[in-house]
Symmetry: C2
Subunit: 232 residues, 2 copies
């Protein structure tokens, strides 16, 4: 049984470059997953071509749940087929004095594993709750749960989070001393994400208010704060 | 010679689900590429595992240029190896009356092709200019260009944009009539991105101002505007 507080180190999760940017604790992994809304799922199609598609996800314990539309492709769910799930948060553009040292501040997680296609309706419901609550906290309890037919039409993949790596870059550019000596400007342009004002659907009767669970989302503020360079 | 105003339709760029969300014109492709800062590059590692890594990119004509760190992996640059590059812009969270009809508003582009590793220094410089200017307009001319040694240490991949697909979802949730009749709230929570205040590096001499090319970036404003649901 692996130590669940340490991310696994397998050949494919070892970083080829910039090993100093690696994080090996599971807390860092969950921080990245919590802060992101979508992931990119990579799999190998039947003809050997790699395919990368964006999709929603949820987390419960040490399992990542991937939602539906892409899972419907039979190529993903072939038995014993390894997939790669990558989650990336872009925090800033690193503007150096040389083009060579331009970079990005980011947090990214890469997870490898053989996913399991959920078939048990009860497990599928729990997984969909995790996916829905990740994207839109409070919505699972507040909206109509799936019918049997809807549940059958939804594909959910479960992927263990045990084989994962996390990479983080933060702080200012690292320039060559000779470029620093030239005295020009360098720094970081933060990239922030936020929620805008909720837009009520046109078929909602007049006077129905935006629920407070939606009005009060603060993820954007949290991300903006995390995007501030740490100065190190 | 394919019509360069039409995206190619090959089996792997045809959409398995939600074909109504497909866009087939090249203008839509360039809009998505212009609005995004990073892409996700998918390739198949030597052991057959799919690998998805975030990276910067640039566009010149009908060519996508992928920058450096990931290209350094020998597995990417194997001759005749197909890669998949996916660019995703998340515009909003679609909050329906049923969990089943929850969705996301987004614009995404998927490009397939066999990349070419650049070796000619002059072509590499032009490609790096495209990548730098995509991430940070104005920086190529304003900062020190790469030395011969730096250029040799940088890998750049060129990928044709001819085989690509674009998928867009916008507008309010589409609920079941029986759920609409219940009279509850539904709508879209826009997700916006913006630049924060530039953070000057600690090794910049006091009094050096933030260059106007950085202070005046308006990409965030443009994206926020694009993220407004079109109501359709």
């Amino acid at each position: 049984m692996p130590d669940v507080n340490e991310l696994s180190s397998t050949p494919r999760t070892q970083l080829g470059r910039h090993r100093e940017r690696a994080r090996s604790d599971r807390a860092a992994l969950f921080d990245v997953l919590d802060a992101a809304l979508i992931c990119h799922l990579g799999f190998v199609a039947a003809d050997g071509t790699p395919v990368v598609l964006p999709t929603g996800f949820g987390v419960a314990g040490d399992t990542l749940y991937l939602h539906g539309s892409v899972a419907a492709r039979p190529l993903v769910v072939g038995p014993s087929q390894t997939v790669c799930v990558t989650v990336t948060l872009l925090d800033g553009i690193v503007l150096a004095r040389s083009t060579f040292h331009h970079s990005m501040n980011y947090r990214s997680a890469v997870v490898f594993g053989v996913p399991r296609l959920l078939t048990d309706p009860a497990e599928k419901l729990r997984a969909l709750e995790a996916v829905t609550e990740h994207l839109a906290p409070g919505q699972w309890a507040a909206t109509r749960t799936p019918t049997r037919r809807e549940l059958a039409a939804t594909s959910v993949l479960a992927l263990s989070l045990l084989e994962a790596s996390v990479k983080v870059r933060s702080g200012p550019p690292i320039d060559e001393p000779s470029d620093v000596a030239d005295g020009g400007w360098a720094g970081v342009l933060p990239v922030t994400s936020a929620y805008g004002e909720p837009v009520t659907a046109p078929d909602v009767p007049a006077g129905v208010p935006v629920p407070s669970r939606i009005r009060e989302r603060s993820w954007g503020v949290a991300r903006a704060r995390a995007a501030e360079p740490s100065g190190g």
